[in-house]
């Protein structure tokens, strides 16, 4: 196998190399290095993929889809936010192997990868907020944030929606492009993509339930400031606008 493809398989993580990424990411204790990794990792992978100047073999695409499904499926039972971010990062970045076939422009592809990473960055920041407040960012540990921290919850829900490829966020464009690429190939790839999307939605809904739903069982909790909420909202709006823009590129 081409050494560049092998290297790309580490940065657009294919199983079992994905375990290395997961190990590295969860080993990082601070938010900043995690954010840098989330932003840079898929970009390096895409750069390596473009350097090969050839389409990856079909089995690599199949392995990418299988890896995505594997991590999406495993994310269903995750409660710890860093774990969840790590698994969803692997699951969504591996889709780029397929998307690379349908989007020729390298710049668009890199922007799309950025669109996949940014919501994960936001969730990492939200997780660090929870860690400061409660000592851990763990679903089910403290219920009812929907009422206790309404601003935080609003941003949290929209961030999860962006990660699980809800229209009109960039993840949706990536998934749409992947679907169109898959329909050129085998029906199995299309079915795998369906299952991947299903697991993302399921995992996202479980996370929302774990954090937002329930009776608040804590006293005074400090919500994020109005300014911070506005900043998050602006980034999410920009992401949605970018998602719409990339959708028009597909058509």
């Amino acid at each position: 196998m081409d050494s560049k493809i092998l290297a790309a398989a580490l940065f657009l993580p294919l199983f079992p190399l994905s375990m290395l990424f997961s190990f590295l990411f969860e080993g990082l204790r601070k938010s900043l290095p995690r954010i840098i990794v989330l932003m840079a990792w898929p970009q390096i992978g895409l750069w390596l993929l473009q350097e090969t100047n050839s389409c990856p073999p079909a089995w690599v695409i199949h392995l990418a889809l299988a890896t995505s499904l594997f991590y999406g499926f495993r994310a269903l039972v995750l409660r710890e936010l860093t774990h969840w971010v790590s698994f969803l990062a692997i699951s969504s970045w591996t889709i780029l192997w397929l998307v690379a076939g349908s989007i020729d422009q390298a710049q668009t592809l890199q922007l799309l990868a950025l669109g996949l990473s940014l919501p994960l960055v936001l969730l990492t920041l939200l997780g660090s907020q929870l860690e400061k407040q409660f000592g851990a960012s763990y679903a089910g540990l403290y219920n009812g944030l929907g009422h206790a921290m309404p601003r935080f919850s609003g941003v949290f829900v929209f961030t999860i929606l962006a990660i699980v490829a809800t229209p009109v966020f960039p993840g949706f464009t990536a998934m749409t492009a992947a679907f169109f690429e898959a329909t050129h190939g085998s029906l199995i790839s299309s079915i795998l993509l369906c299952l991947i999307w299903l697991t993302w939605g399921w995992a996202g809904a479980r996370l929302i339930q774990g954090f937002i739903i329930g009776k608040e069982d804590h006293e005074e909790i400090e919500d994020i400031s109005r300014g911070t909420a506005w900043l998050y909202a602006l980034i999410l709006t920009a992401l949605a606008a970018f998602g719409i823009h990339t959708l028009t590129l597909l058509s």
Partner: protein, 560 residues
């Protein structure tokens, strides 16, 4: 008119945005703004429908810069009037109903977003807009059903809805992918034009593109319209706020019928898809109705009633009566919406006094007291079998003399006949002072219903599908071999008549010998339907098993 058409989905989005941005300053005024904007939307929708009725041509309205296309045609305008009309009523109702709930503003913002998504779905003129709006309806519904953030149960039901809808979304996405891959365009008008000019030419996975995309669109419709095996979410979503339950019957749960109509040019070129749709609709109609009869919770019973109605609506599509399905979904939207909005006050009043007049109907239906003196059975048998069929045939013959040449019309007539005959059969033992008056009232009501249904169905057919050749093509696609059709119809008739004779006989003799055996059989059947065929248990077990498997793999791989 194009600007007005664009304004239709944009207005609720704008209102939701304003209400969110100025939530603190507006306070409870968010409801007023939402209601007023909703009224404006309704007026716009009525103007657009009037324009279509006046004979305006079908137009593609571009959203600008290739973002998407809206299709201004009779179907989209009709759906817009339905959605804006009922959502206006729902919002007016919600102003007071939701007044004491936490998240009053959030509720109206979600309602506005839902209406925007529904309007976008109803008028989508390209595959991307259709997929996006179809998907968003499910997402917004998730938050509306789980509106009460403190209720884990509501959240669980919202989750089931989301997952079921996601199955439909994915089928829709696959269909869109295959159509785009085949025809190289997103525009529905262009795709349909190509299919009309060269049907059955393109293949995908060994099937014609029409057949495979027809099947996928049907799956999307089944998930949305709670067809059997994908229905478990519907009765449980009734735990959400009552206005949401009412809104669900406007363009959400009945969107399956709309979708099949929107993709009618594809279904007209299929071979098996419409037969499968008929079969699934039939099974759903029967099971939904049976499950409805066993419920003791009024909202859950209404939920199963909706399932039965949706089954009938899908079945109508399966026999080629596409426009009749649209009439059905509109009529159902109005009457079920009314029932939901009055369910709360009915329960409240019933707690003080049930309000049911102790009349003939009550003593017969509730207290099960039958008449001592019965009517001559031969006369009643003749009335039961002959009169409904005569009424139905005359009503249809008046609007279309060749109706009996369409199998779809015959099947619907058959259902009409069974319903009418069953009604008469049930009432023949009713204790009443004036029997001829009662029978006369039933027959007049039945005639009005059948004549109304036939005339309006006929009008819808001409409004939605003005091309007569296309109308005939849909009916011919839904047609099966005459021998098998006649055989199935005769056998079904025999089974139903045998059922009536058996019921009559058993009532007469009270099944003295087999009472105990019948009771056991009945109890087993009742247990089965009271547990809703154990489907929810099976699905829960499957979900739990998958989660356990994921956890085991995670442990095995040390969470890496």
């Amino acid at each position: 008119m194009e600007q007005l058409f664009l304004l239709l989905p944009l207005l609720p989005i704008l209102v939701a945005l304003i209400n969110q941005l100025f939530a603190k300053q507006l306070g409870r005024s968010v409801a007023k703004i939402s209601v007023r904007a909703s009224f404006v939307s309704f007026i716009i929708a009525v103007i657009l429908l009037g324009d279509q009725l006046a004979g305006s041509p079908v137009t593609n309205v571009h959203l600008g810069n290739g973002i998407g296309i809206l299709l201004s045609d009779p179907l989209s305008c009709l759906m817009a009037v339905l959605i804006t009309g009922i959502s206006l009523i729902v919002r007016i109702y919600s102003v007071k109903y939701m007044a004491e709930e936490d998240g009053y503003g959030r509720f109206f913002i979600l309602l506005d977003l839902m209406v925007a998504a529904l309007l976008l779905m109803g008028s989508a003129g390209d595959l991307l807009t259709m997929v996006v709006s179809w998907h968003l309806v499910g997402v917004v519904l998730y938050f509306l059903i789980g509106f009460n953030l403190r209720s884990a149960l509501s959240s669980r039901h919202a989750f089931w809805t989301l997952i079921t809808y996601r199955i439909g979304d994915l089928a829709m996405m696959l269909a869109a992918g295959i159509l785009f891959h085949t025809f190289g365009t997103w525009s529905l008008s262009e795709i349909f034009a190509e299919i009309r000019s060269a049907p059955g030419v393109h293949k995908y996975g060994g099937f014609t593109v029409e057949e495979i995309t027809g099947a996928l669109v049907a799956v999307a419709a089944f998930a949305r319209s709670a067809q059997f095996l994908l229905h478990t979410w519907l009765p449980y979503t009734m735990g959400g706020p009552t206005p949401v339950s009412a809104l669900m019957h406007v363009g959400i749960v009945n969107a399956g019928g709309f979708l099949i109509n929107r993709f009618a040019p594809i279904f007209a070129q299929t071979e098996a898809a419409l037969h499968v749709i008929f079969f699934v609709g039939l099974i759903t109609a029967i099971i939904g109705s049976v499950l409805m009869l066993t419920q003791n919770d009024i909202k859950k019973a209404l939920g199963y009633s909706t399932m039965g109605q949706m089954g009938f609506m899908v079945m109508e599509c399966g026999v080629g009566a596409f426009s009749l399905a649209i009439y059905h979904l509109i009529a159902h939207g109005f009457f079920k919406g009314t029932l939901f909005l009055s369910a709360g006050s009915a329960i409240s009043k019933a707690r003080k006094h049930d309000g049911v007049p102790k009349q003939d109907l009550y003593t017969f239906a509730v207290e099960r007291k039958t008449a001592v003196r019965r009517q001559p059975w031969l006369v009643m048998a003749l009335i039961t079998i002959a009169v409904p069929i005569a009424i139905i045939f005359i009503a249809h013959w008046l609007v279309a003399k060749d109706f009996y040449q369409k199998q779809g019309a015959i099947i619907l007539l058959f259902f009409g006949w069974v319903t009418g005959a069953q009604l008469l059969f049930t009432t023949y033992r009713m204790n009443t002072q004036n029997f001829p008056r009662m029978i006369g009232t039933i027959l007049v009501s039945f005639t009005v219903l059948i004549a109304g249904y036939t005339l309006i169905g006929h009008a819808f057919d001409h409004f939605l599908y003005p091309d007569e050749v296309f109308r005939k093509q849909i009916y011919s696609t839904a047609t099966i071999d005459v021998f098998w059709f006649d055989l199935v119809l005769i056998l079904t008739t025999l089974v139903i008549v045998a059922g009536w004779i058996f019921t009559y006989y058993s009532e007469q003799n009270r099944l003295r010998d087999n009472k105990e055996r019948c009771n056991n059989l009945w109890l087993s059947f009742y247990a089965l339907i009271s547990r809703e065929f154990y489907l929810m248990d099976i699905y829960s077990w499957m979900a739990r098993s998958l989660l356990q498997l994921a956890a085991r793999i995670n442990v095995l791989l040390r969470w890496r």
